[in-house]
């Protein structure tokens, strides 16, 4: 390994327990400098606990937290070179916008004129240049959000931690902020660690996503990798919408489900091993019933604006979710087609490590 690719943040075997309840189970992760990372998972999965451990608000029960190669487990929060954007923003209500942004600089005894310039720069960065004199209660939720970001960024941290910062905003504003945050991160080159339960947010902004559930990182990788190659039922279900159908691996590149054999792109499993098949709704195309690889009966459909969401059932009783630009007729049979590479095969209870090993071995062949 090259020396200069040392991760800026590294967690090794970090656990956190409250009494008998284990919130984090042996978390290992590495963050490289200058990338946008996302911790994604349902509420209570431990993602915010990881953030708080890195920020220094919570101590890890065991394991090490490294910052720039140094163990920082015992370093108090006020001495860590990371800053946090809080879910509720935590802007000080007794100070105005500029005073909030200047708070950290004043503590660090930065000269007065430098504080003024840096505060102005930070506010300009989040497009609030003229808002310095406003009271916190006088600005909107979206503006408060920006002030919170400016207050953290003005400290020039090496890592910025963001705890579900967009969850309190309305849908339109949230979309805009996604672009802005991504843009800000790329311009400043600071490592962002973003916590969210919103998979769309995670897919849109991240260089790398850590999908978490019940105190464990289930899968990590680029948004495309995680979307296309979900490692198990949970990830497939949590990221995007999926049809997950039980099946059997006949041999390499051949899989059987709903009583038929299909060509597929997966290999490296035992013959006749029971597996789960993932087919994304947008990968399914509707054709006439006699031309389909599968025949299903339409149960209901909803118009979603840019597509129709169709729910159909096959003869085995499996539910099929189809996204189609054309409407179908309820109660009528339709044919479904898909390409071999649209089929994604998941082994039951396979961990990320063994999946990686299998893929590597099969790619080496």
């Amino acid at each position: 390994m090259a020396v200069n690719t040392q991760p800026i943040i590294r967690l090794t075997d970090v656990t956190k327990s409250y009494g008998d309840h284990q919130v984090l189970k042996k978390i290992n992760l590495e963050l490289e400098a200058g990338k946008f990372y996302t911790l994604l998972g349902p509420s209570g999965c431990g993602k915010t606990t990881i953030l708080r451990t890195i920020a220094g608000f919570t101590d890890a029960t065991s394991g090490q937290v490294y910052f720039d190669g140094q163990v920082i487990n015992n370093l108090p929060a006020n001495q860590r070179q990371v800053n946090t954007v809080f879910q509720d923003y935590a802007l000080f209500p007794h100070m105005n916008v500029a005073e909030n942004v200047a708070f950290g600089l004043k503590l660090h005894k930065v000269p007065k004129d430098e504080i003024a310039t840096r505060v102005q720069e930070a506010l300009a960065m989040v497009q609030l240049a003229d808002f310095g004199e406003r009271e916190i209660s006088e600005i909107s939720g979206g503006q408060q959000q920006r002030v919170a970001i400016a207050r953290a960024l003005v400290m020039q941290p090496k890592v910025l931690l963001l705890d579900e910062p967009l969850s309190a905003l309305d849908a339109k504003l949230r979309k805009d902020m996604q672009y802005e945050l991504r843009d800000l991160q790329q311009r400043l080159g600071i490592t962002f660690l973003f916590v969210t339960h919103d998979q769309e947010e995670a897919l849109a902004m991240s260089d790398e996503i850590f999908v978490m559930n019940a105190g464990e990182v289930l899968q990590s990788g680029s948004p495309v990798d995680i979307y296309d190659e979900p490692i198990n039922h949970f990830v497939a279900n949590f990221i995007g919408e999926s049809n997950i159908i039980p099946g059997q691996m006949i041999q390499d590149f051949e899989v059987s489900f709903v009583g038929k054999n299909f060509e597929c792109a997966d290999a490296g499993m035992r013959p006749n091993e029971n597996v789960e098949i993932v087919l994304r709704p947008e990968d399914l195309d509707i054709v006439a019933a006699d031309q389909g690889k599968l025949v299903v009966t339409v149960d209901s459909q909803l118009f979603r604006g840019n597509y129709f969401e169709i729910v159909a059932y096959d003869t085995d009783g499996n539910e099929w979710l189809v996204h189609s630009t054309n409407p179908a007729t309820e109660g009528e049979p339709i044919g479904l087609t898909f390409d071999p590479q649209d089929i994604h095969v998941m082994r039951l209870n396979e961990s990320e490590a063994s999946s990686d090993a299998r893929l590597e071995q099969y790619e080496d062949d």
């Binding site: 006020n78 802007l91 000080f92 007794h94 950290g104």
Partner: protein, 276 residues
């Protein structure tokens, strides 16, 4: 029509409270003001006010009252703020709070008599002082014992509002402050304390104003060495029977209270607007 009826009914609910306010607050205050303009012989006069503001005795008394009320409030605040803060950190704050409030259920006079026992020559306090070799000392009827007991009695009224404002405070303010590099002391002085000021102000009002007019404790515990406006009023009404002069001092006290309220509410605007 129906709305009007509902309106008149909700007004009706206010009648008992309004009656109470008129009979026991507004009327007595008006009577007091009216009476303060009459001499001991029942003649209309401004002499009472003239006497009050030209007599060094009364002005000293006023200064004394304010000074001792200030000392009592300061002592109470210094004890109550850390108490309220620690209370918020404990596992069962409601239980501890109950224990702090409990003494207020006991009559003030009983508590005063209990302290006479504790502070007397043969009391527990002096037994302890003798035991460690510095006693016995004169504790009762000193300024110290007066402030001590007054502060003891007022503490619950200071702890409660401060505790409420601390417990309502969002913990992420503290985390945000530490995150931005503040030490524990800086977090306290720049974030925690300013944000809990409304509670501190409420506590100061609840303690300072009653302390201005304390009279029973000055006699029982302070041994009449400290003469406050409260003592003077008592003297005029019960001993010298100069109700006019007593009323004048009462009016001055009321004005002092209004000033205190106005002062402690003065800086409140910004914090309150920010918190809500």
């Amino acid at each position: 029509m129906q709305q009007k009826q509902r309106l008149s009914r909700s007004t009706a609910y206010f009648i008992p409270y309004m009656l109470w306010i008129v009979l026991f607050v507004i009327a007595p205050v008006l009577l007091l003001i009216y009476q303060s303009f009459f001499s001991i012989n029942g003649q209309f006069t401004f002499a009472n006010y003239q006497t009050y503001f030209s007599s060094s005795t009364y002005l000293m008394m006023t200064l004394n009252s304010v000074w001792y009320a200030f000392l009592i409030t300061l002592a109470t605040l210094l004890i109550s703020y850390p108490t309220a803060y620690l209370l918020n950190e404990t596992k069962h704050p409601q239980l501890w709070l109950l224990l702090i409030i409990m003494p207020t259920w006991i009559n003030l006079l009983l508590k005063a008599y209990a302290f006479i026992g504790i502070f007397s020559q043969a009391g527990i306090a002096n037994q302890f002082l003798s035991f460690i070799g510095i006693g016995p000392k004169q504790i009762l009827f000193t300024n110290f014992s007066f402030i001590f007991v007054a502060a003891y009695i007022q503490i619950p009224f200071m702890v409660l509002p401060i505790y409420n404002s601390i417990s309502e405070l969002n913990t992420s303010y503290v985390n945000a402050s530490r995150d931005l590099g503040a030490t524990n002391w800086q977090t306290f002085s720049r974030v925690l304390f300013p944000l809990t000021l409304p509670g501190v102000r409420a506590g100061i009002q609840a303690v300072f104003i009653p302390s201005l007019s304390l009279f029973m404790l000055t006699r029982l515990i302070g041994g009449n060495k400290v003469i406050t406006l409260g003592t003077a009023i008592e003297e005029h009404f019960l001993t010298t029977m100069n109700w006019g002069m007593g009323s004048t001092i009462g009016v001055v006290l009321i004005i002092a209270m209004v000033i205190i309220m106005w002062l402690t509410n003065g800086g409140k605007r910004r914090t309150r607007r920010g918190l809500k």
